[in-house]
Symmetry: C2
Subunit: 341 residues, 2 copies
DNA sequence: CGACTCACTGAAAGCGCTTTCATGCACGTG
DNA sequence: CACGTGCATGAAAGCGCTTTCAGTGAGTCG
């Protein structure tokens, strides 16, 4: 029952078209070197039989899978959605298929996924951020599988990355917040452990505060996983302090949106009673009320460029070239000024 | 340069362990039938060499890929994210890997993706909704690849599906809207063409209105792609009418959120000036102000159940069993009552 | 007009694994 | 002691494709 119809193979096509399997293979992969007439007969046979090449066999014989793997920390929220979508589309343009898996921000799972992707023959791999066990990098290098990092960029780091400088970006945002007169800060950061993006964003804030003569140790900082509810709870906790902050800077938009929504539930007006900032510039930030002040990351462009670069690496065998992308600080309605009287 | 290190194969492991390749294969796939001592030697050799099985070869020899494919209409917004995430996790439990691709709501692309997934040896395939070219179903059946539909359920339809009744759910929501006294409706629907979910949601509204003695032809309906901005624009257009609706029902949360945000920009109070409803119950609906009245779909459960069922189909070779999931209508703050004086 | 080139095609090896079949060996049994 | 039994292993075929190597015939050139 399960195999009533035999699945047609390349040999079946060859027989049907009255030519050799070799020529059928060429017709499919390298049509230029086959005569027009033969090409047509192959085409006809393929259609008649409903032939689809067997990926495993093809991959085994050609040692090319036309597959690119990507491991992102999460699919649950939209942080990576836009970028990965663009990455996928651009890969498709190059004739590659994308395999995505998510690690739930767990380094062990990530390492396992890397092995899984390689075992499935990924010709190249996209990873998020820099920080991971050196063993993972070793494994990739030993296998000679090109890899590229995204969503982060640190000048001087030798690993090929396409992204933006998380520290500098947050530094810049913090700059603007200071310019509005804020001096009483609080921070809701993502989990810093093993996450260079989160760590650098936090560092961007503390660095800027130091430069402004504010001791970061005096700033209340809550570290929590990226999740709307966590953002909300952290916000509430921060506002319990007797000396309330005038601004709460969040490690990403998801946390910030949680903060905004809890603020409303608490009857606080944003930004009159308290200002809130985010990071990422996902759609959420745009539609929340008030519109979120945030750092806009060019997700789609990052995805496209990463695809182009990774394909280039795979096909040329050359080392990857890093690219830094420009972010844009957008001071939207969720932040107000503070009189510095 | 690209191949300085030769990738270790099963034969290398066999040599290193001093046993035959056959036994190594057995140790890896069927440890029960191998002696404990041999197992250990294999384990040691695998670790020493850093061996990872070659997926293509394995798939070719065993004719099982341990891969499940899923084709969703879009990754851009969160409609499918939660469900697919759960689907993936549950598949992982069963030892399967998920391959996701998106069709951008284009039936041609979807058909192409089906072929691509099959060619990659997907042992089973998850598709969204019922409507697609019969040729796609034929192809799947001819190939004997089990498939399952999700995000929809129509009683009596023979195709195996795990989801909810889009028409009935929207009918139910509309019911509640009527109960609040609304009589002047407007609708922002998703593109109905080729999309049974969108079509049935719309039908749920018109059916209910008919039953209430309201001629659906008198109700302004705008059909547009699921996108926040489209929702916003459609809303504005609908509110331009001289006889404004008291409620705008939207085909999904994304459209509804767009509508809410435009309402605010237009200086309209939701729900005092106009009520707005959505569909899906994604996170967005919860955090928008005012909280969106919508139909909550149990995405995670749908994903998990779909995974269990599809794996069962693949492993048993039996036909798929449909399951209908319960939705929940939540009348949140974006809807108010209308005095029926 | 013989030697070459060129465009096209075929034969066959081999990619890394699983699985069938055969074999060896240590038992327990009549 | 001859035999069947069951466990653990090995040998070898073969999965469906690509690619190298070797033609073949037609056209071109000195």
């Amino acid at each position: 029952m399960r195999s009533r119809h035999r699945v047609p193979t390349l040999v079946d096509v060859a027989k049907d078209a009255g030519i050799s399997p070799a020529t059928v293979s060429r017709s499919l992969n390298n049509p230029d070197i086959v005569s027009k007439e033969t090409l047509e007969r192959v085409q006809t046979a393929v259609n008649r039989l409903g032939y689809t090449p067997h990926f495993g066999a093809r991959y085994m014989a050609a040692k090319r899978s036309w597959t690119i793997g990507a491991i992102i920390p999460t699919m649950e929220n939209a942080i990576f959605a836009k970028g990965i979508q663009a990455f996928q589309e651009q890969l498709h343009e190059h004739g590659y298929t994308l395999l995505v898996s998510s690690s739930s921000y767990d380094p062990e799972i990530e390492a396992e996924q890397v092995r899984a992707l390689i075992s499935r023959g990924a010709d190249g791999i996209l990873l998020i951020g820099y920080w991971r066990d050196e063993a993972v990098y070793d494994f990739l290098r030993r296998r000679n599988v090109p890899f590229l990092l995204a969503w982060a960029f640190t000048a001087g780091n030798a690993l090929p990355a396409i992204g933006f400088d998380n520290r500098a970006s947050m530094y810049q945002l913090c700059d603007q917040v200071l310019a509005l007169g804020h001096r009483k800060f609080a921070v809701i950061s993502g989990k810093v452990d093993g996450n260079d993006r989160a760590a650098n964003r936090l560092k961007g804030i503390t660095d800027r505060l130091k430069d402004a003569g504010i001791d970061p140790k005096t700033v209340p900082i809550i570290e929590t996983a990226y999740d709307i509810d966590n953002g909300a709870n952290a916000f509430e906790e921060l506002m319990q302090a007797e000396d309330r902050p005038t601004v709460v800077m969040c490690g990403n938009d998801v946390l910030a949106v949680g903060a905004i929504s809890r603020a409303q539930e608490m009857g606080l007006d944003v930004p009159r009673d308290v200002s809130i900032t985010g990071f990422d510039g996902i759609e959420l930030a745009r539609i929340v009320t008030p519109k979120l002040a945030t750092v806009r990351v060019p997700h789609a462009e990052m995805g496209r460029r990463a695809a182009d670069e990774l394909v280039r690496m795979v096909e040329s065998g050359e080392a990857g070239q890093s690219q830094e992308l420009r972010i844009e600080v957008s001071m939207d309605l969720s932040i107000g000024s503070v009189s510095t009287t």
